[in-house]
Amino acid sequence: MFSVSGKSVFPRSVTRRDILKSLTMGVMAGSVLRVIPAQAAEYAHHLVQSEKASAAGGYTPKFFSPHHYKTLQALCQAIIPPDDHSGGAVEAGAPEFIDLLTSENKDYQLKLGGGLMWLDSACGDRYGKTYLDCSPEQQKQILDLIAYRKNAKIDLSLSQGVEFFAFLRNLTADGFFTSEIGIKDLQYIGNTYLKDFPGCPPVTGA
């Protein structure tokens, strides 16, 4: 899905430095070349994407065990699922992003590594199974409990799970909304070269 064949406007040997140079020159050189920066920027993106794509097939988690990584993926996808606008957190690469950060941060390892262990224990206590082996109804039941702080006030034994889930929710939102599909989902428009800034479009109520 990230193939760049046929899309590139530059030879493969173009370096980032060349691209940046063309970005600079395009703006300085005036209207004739103003189209180049956008193409250069697009090319830079495709380079990154194709690098990612080659590694995406068999992603090996840097920190999490295979079981915990699968659980992480399931939780990320539950937090931000696919809908009719866009794909979910897994398609956006959120689990890879979270795994990378966790592999580098002892605090994250405690919060997330420990949190996933907590979740499996809690599911074990309640349903006699790991989270992944639970039925969809059981998974929903436990998530509905740890997704809201007020539940921990009623049942103190949930409070660690609530903390874990809140932390993971933030990181999942990070991973999703900083991805290409997440940014498209928000319909952010920009990061371009404009000759003039158009200001606010005419709309009633703003």
Binding site: K21, A166, L171, F197
Partner: protein
């Protein structure tokens, strides 16, 4: 000290620091015909290699959050221009017990002008006459009329946009046209008009037209990442190049000044510095010295330059070096504006910063505090980044399709307000040399003492009330929970240093007993020594200080040039 290498060369002027003050001095002095050497504690800067302009978050594998997510929620994400940080490995500083002070430093050519917000406000006439006006603090040794021609020169050279407004607290300057307002700004402006609060186009050092060989802004909103086209102001791209062009300018990077050496005649004669790349000590000699290392770093260098002639540090017979430390009063609040949910997707980027702002508008009445503040505001449909959805996730909790939909709907509907007010210097806020600790270069480090005064707390309370009333008048919801009383940060007042406007540690004045510098930033005790950065400020008005640093350094450099020509140094 047998290994110390002494280059034989004697420069006319040695400048310590390459930021706003140092860069300006380099341009004026080198163009004026002097041989100039500059020491910069960080590496050289290569915009094409170092700047992250036009990257998407997903172009970086950490998405801006840094290794281990350590930069998540901080000002200096991976996207910020390089080498600006709250903490530098091997170069610590200390907050004294009971004090919290944060110190943002940039170790790179151009210093903090690579990272600053580009807000370029003139001080007002009244700002130079605090004591004459309200009996507190001190007057400056210069007036607005004396510095105004230098504001004109700086603005004409670097390019600042704005509009003539004739507001007593916010003098007009030499302005380029402002960019059109964003939707969020039109909304706040309309609300302020209803409330009798001034809201005008901001004044920013960003080119809306090509100027002096630099192209106009291309409106990507990424000034803080560094601008590859040099369309905003940084010392590295605007001040250093003309100095280099003269052929009389030598830049030494990775050179951490340790001490200024004074001769038997009481004049400064050399700077001893650490060459970080070889960890060796070197010296550079000059006829005159400009200390421009940033307010606290400059104070540190003088305090560390002790000798039998200057036992309390160089240029410190008054004992004021390190004292009178101030930062801007900061307090912030955010609001949700439901009407913004109706905005169709559109390009909201603009310049890297605000197109409009709220200057101090209550200068014509009696308030519950002295001096004033302005309000900066931001928000809307900007490029999303890590941490942007934390508050929303915290507020709505849950998960799944409804959370995703909420994020989508709320995106771009929040406006943040940032008050920036004047702090009155007090005896409990200062920096000094820590008696025990040295950095990895063997240089004794700074210890900060910090306490806000009552005036600042009352100002922060007024900021909170203003944010709340603007948001309520616009039909929005106030999202901030600033603790009203007690705690270390009443009314959300920032910790010292957080606004990165630290000033006043080597202040100027008419009395050598109570100030270190005369009105030309020249040390009373050491006449070939000048301190032209934020250290020389007498007060810290509600105006972001960089424009005034540029003007003061320009003025001091012209004076130095004149004195050099007369043979007085």
């Amino acid at each position: 000290m047998a290994q110390v290498i002494r280059p034989p060369k004697l420069y006319d002027v040695c400048i310590i620091g390459s930021g706003a003050a140092g860069g300006t001095a380099a341009k004026i002095l080198a163009e004026g015909g002097l041989n100039v050497v500059m020491l910069e504690a960080g590496p050289p800067l290569d915009p094409a290699r170092d700047y992250k302009e036009h990257f998407w978050p997903y172009d970086l594998e950490h998405r801006g959050a840094g290794v281990g997510g350590k930069l998540r929620g901080l000002l200096n994400t991976e996207f910020l221009a390089p080498n600006g940080a709250w903490e530098i490995d091997g170069e610590p500083y200390i907050s004294a017990p009971g004090s919290t002070f944060r110190w943002f430093r940039s170790r790179i050519v151009g210093g903090r002008t690579n990272h600053w917000g580009r807000i370029a406000l003139r001080l007002a006439p009244v700002d130079f006459k605090s004591r004459s006006t309200d009996g507190v603090g001190d007057d400056w040794p210069i007036t607005y009329q004396e510095i105004a021609p230098y504001y004109d020169k700086v603005e004409s050279y670097i390019g600042v946009f704005g509009t003539k407004e004739n507001i007593a607290s916010a003098p007009d300057g030499v302005f380029l046209p402002p960019p059109k307002p964003r939707c969020t700004e039109i909304l706040v402006k309309k609300t302020c008009d209803e409330m009798g609060i001034l809201c005008v186009p901001s004044r920013m050092a960003i080119l809306t037209k090509a100027l002096n060989g630099r192209p106009a802004c291309h409106y990507c909103a990424q000034c803080g990442r560094g601008c590859i086209t040099g369309s905003n102001f940084s010392s590295s791209q605007v001040m250093i190049p003309p100095a280099q062009k003269t052929g009389r300018f030598t830049l030494i990077t990775n050179a951490m000044a340790r001490e200024i050496i004074a001769g038997k005649d009481g004049k400064a004669e050399a700077v001893s510095y650490i060459d970080k790349s070889t960890r060796t000590e070197k010296r550079v000699k000059a006829r005159a010295f400009i200390v421009a290392a940033s307010a606290c770093e400059s104070a540190r260098l003088l305090l560390n330059s002790r000798s039998s002639l200057f036992p309390d540090g160089l240029a410190n017979s008054s004992g004021v070096v390190g004292r009178y430390l101030t930062d801007s009063v900061g307090s912030s609040g955010t609001g949700y504006f439901p009407q913004l949910e109706k905005m169709p997707p559109h390009n909201h980027d603009g310049i890297g910063g605000m197109h409009m702002y709220i200057p101090w508008w209550k200068f014509d009445r009696k308030n519950e505090f002295l001096r004033g503040y302005h309000i900066e505001f931001y928000g809307g449909r900007f490029m999303p980044g890590v941490g942007d959805f934390d508050d929303l996730c915290e507020q709505y909790e849950g998960y799944g399709a409804s959370l995703k939909q909420k994020c989508r709907a709320m995106y771009g509907t929040v406006i943040g307000f940032e008050g920036r007010g004047e702090m009155i210097p007090n005896e409990r806020s200062y920096c000094e040399i820590d008696p025990d600790l040295v950095d990895q270069w063997g240089i004794p480090v700074l210890r900060f003492h910090w306490q806000w005064g009552d005036n600042e707390i009352r100002m922060a309370r007024d900021m909170q009330e203003t944010f709340r009333s603007i948001i309520a008048t616009a039909g929005g919801t106030y999202l901030t929970k600033a603790n009203p009383e007690g705690g270390s940060r009443p009314y959300g007042i920032t910790d010292g240093g957080v606004i990165i406007h630290e000033l006043g540690t080597v202040r100027m004045g008419n009395n050598p007993k109570t100030s270190a510098l005369n009105k030309y930033c020249q040390a009373y005790d050491v006449k070939n020594l000048f301190v032209t950065d934020g250290a020389c400020f007498v007060t810290n008005p509600d105006k972001n200080p960089t424009l005034t640093i540029l003007a003061l350094s320009w003025r001091a450099s012209e004076y130095l040039l004149d004195q050099a020509k007369k043979g007085n140094l």
